[in-house]
Symmetry: C2
Subunit: 121 residues, 2 copies
């Protein structure tokens, strides 16, 4: 098989390859966006993204996305897009696994100074 043969991206396998929370890993790219998986538990920080919407799809567990307009409760197979500029905070009582899509280079906290690096796995 050629090294550039097209290959499926198995999200469960990608998620099994790391343990840390709130540290998105890039698993693919799409139209200038990073496709990422992340494990979350506890409370993130309130933040917004001035230049982009923020895509969340829950793969496993439960996630609350608190927003300035109200809270959204998500379980497996449920998604929510936080509109550009809307203040939000993801919260998970227990570990949850999430698929994220954001433009390449988007800081996860909305602020480059406090953002974590996003390695490709």
């Amino acid at each position: 098989m050629a090294t550039d043969a097209p290959t499926a991206i198995n999200l469960a396998e990608k998620l099994a390859s790391f343990a840390e929370h709130w540290s998105p890993k890039i698993v693919g790219t799409f139209n200038g966006h990073d496709i990422m998986v992340v494990k979350v538990k506890g409370e993130f920080v309130w933040h917004s993204h001035p230049d982009t919407d923020d895509f969340f799809l829950v793969l496993d567990g439960r996630l609350t996305i608190q927003t300035e307009h109200g809270d959204v409760e998500l379980g497996p197979g449920e998604l929510f897009v936080v509109p550009q500029g809307v203040q939000h905070r993801p919260v998970a009582a227990e570990e949850a696994h999430i698929l994220l899509i954001e433009p390449h280079g988007t800081p996860n906290t909305g602020d480059p100074a406090t953002a974590v690096a996003k390695p490709r796995i």
Copy 2:
């Protein structure tokens, strides 16, 4: 609850609301893209999208994406992005349920003349 309160998008509920194959339904929007669910069975047509990558995430069932560079086999929780301009044909022996993301207005066949409308559900 205000009518514009943020609400989760439940993909299984959306998929349960229609039966036809190869007819993507818009369930949300993200950075100028449509987020869609589609039921597929059988063979689609060979096509490419000259201006966009093409995002496929299998939610249920199995999908083969034949491409000019080789075939990709996808099961639940597996995704593949067909790069811009690459000829491809989705094929499913049995019904499969897929999450698609494409720029708003992208014809599903790559050709406006043969594309189906994409209603919002």
